[in-house]
């Protein structure tokens, strides 16, 4: 495997999904791969560029955020577009990356499941994924800033090594670095985050208790 396309599935070009995509690119370049990166949301009106890059690649990496337990909507649109162009799907390897705000992996894994089912259906080799919690908290910063940053980084680099070698990446890589805490700690964190939200909104002059504007519409 030599030619890789990394697709940023996030509408944000400098968020955590893009940071993980950039790390992936740098790792693969160091390992003498040809790497192209593309932002999906810059091509929603015309998918031609994205589809052409998929065709030229022998490895596809999809990196995206988790919006309510799954990749953003237009990932599904991309997969639909890919499936209607079977000529560009020629047993490439596909790896997924999904990161979301919730600290657990089960809230993000449905996105990965879709990639796996898509691959089974569309002549692509699904090779595994990396699932990461607390991504929203990072907001594009380096992995070291995570509470469990050192472990996650080590695991993510092992995942990137799997991509570089064209190997299947085991789920244990991301599952083993998931944060586990007692309920009382989650309760403390929830309270702390709520206080931070209220403080920030109040400082900006926003009444966080106001009724939704959608009640009046």
């Amino acid at each position: 495997m030599k030619n890789v396309v990394i697709i940023n599935l996030s509408p944000r070009k400098n968020g955590t999904s893009a940071m993980l995509a950039k790390m992936c690119k740098e790792y693969l370049l160091e390992n003498e791969k040809n790497v192209e990166t593309v932002d999906l949301y810059s091509h929603l009106e015309d998918m031609g560029t994205v589809l052409s890059l998929v065709d030229k690649a022998d490895t596809i990496v999809m990196s995206g955020p988790c919006y309510i337990d799954h990749y953003p909507a237009d990932t599904i649109y991309l997969l639909e577009q890919m499936s209607t162009h079977p000529e560009i799907l020629h047993k490439q390897n596909l790896y997924g990356i999904i990161q979301g705000g919730m600290p657990y992996v089960h809230t993000h894994e449905s996105g990965i499941r879709t990639l796996e089912l898509f691959c089974q259906d569309c002549n692509i080799n699904y090779k595994g994924a990396f699932v990461m919690g607390l991504g929203a908290m990072l907001n594009g910063q380096q992995l070291d800033k995570l509470i469990n940053g050192k472990k996650v980084k080590k695991s993510y680099l092992a995942f990137l090594n799997n991509i570089s070698n064209g190997e299947i990446s085991p789920e244990s890589l991301y599952k083993n670095v998931q944060i586990k805490m007692p309920t009382i700690v989650w309760m403390y964190l929830a309270k702390k985050m709520n206080n931070t939200i209220n403080k920030e909104l109040t400082e900006k002059g926003i009444d966080y208790l106001q009724p939704s504007p959608y009640w009046k519409m």
Binding site: A73, T107, L117, A190, I206
Partner: protein
């Protein structure tokens, strides 16, 4: 009130459930999103910092979210695409945070969020002919995760596009319990 959000592409299952619920004299709103214009969520933060609690983009979401926030039960009817919603349905789901509570709570030992308004239950009907067991399981798990993260109750069904009237009746009964 039950609000049905249905991607009616190539089938009329949403309409059939709607008619069944109407025949039971249940208050139901029906929203077809097959031809709706719902722009993607660009994660711009506008619904927090510019127009608090409202998407900054004007599209058919302006008609959809008022009917969602005032409902007790949501029913999503969607084609299944590799174990998930159709992209049109998912565009609506992606922006549900505009009617969500921004605060966190801990339920069953995990951090979750919640919705504003009256909503108590979320059901989803996934449509795919000859859907594999794996894909049914992926869809059910996704809906279960949605229910969990929004701190609701509910469930999911997976049916063929030519599902018989008996199953439509069963789904309507479950949803209207």
């Amino acid at each position: 009130m039950i609000t049905i959000i249905s991607d009616d592409a190539n089938q009329n299952i949403g309409q059939r459930i709607y008619k069944e619920l109407c025949s039971k004299k249940i208050e139901v709103e029906y929203i077809s999103i097959s031809d709706a214009d719902i722009k993607p969520c660009y994660s711009c933060g506008g619904c927090t910092y510019k127009t608090y609690g409202k998407c900054v983009v004007r599209d058919d979401g302006d008609k959809i979210y008022p009917k969602l926030i005032s409902a007790d039960v949501w029913l999503i009817v969607t084609p299944i695409m590799w174990g998930t919603y159709s992209y049109k349905t998912k565009r609506m789901v992606d922006k549900l945070c505009v009617i969500g509570d921004r605060h966190y709570s801990v339920v069953r030992g995990e951090i979750v969020k919640a919705m504003q308004g009256n909503i108590k239950k979320l059901y989803a009907v996934g449509i795919k002919d000859d859907c594999s067991t794996e894909e049914k399981s992926a869809f059910s798990k996704l809906v279960a995760e949605n229910i969990n993260i929004m701190n609701l109750s509910g469930g999911s069904f997976v049916v063929d596009s030519d599902v018989d009237d008996c199953d439509i009746l069963k789904m309507a009964e479950e949803i209207s319990k």
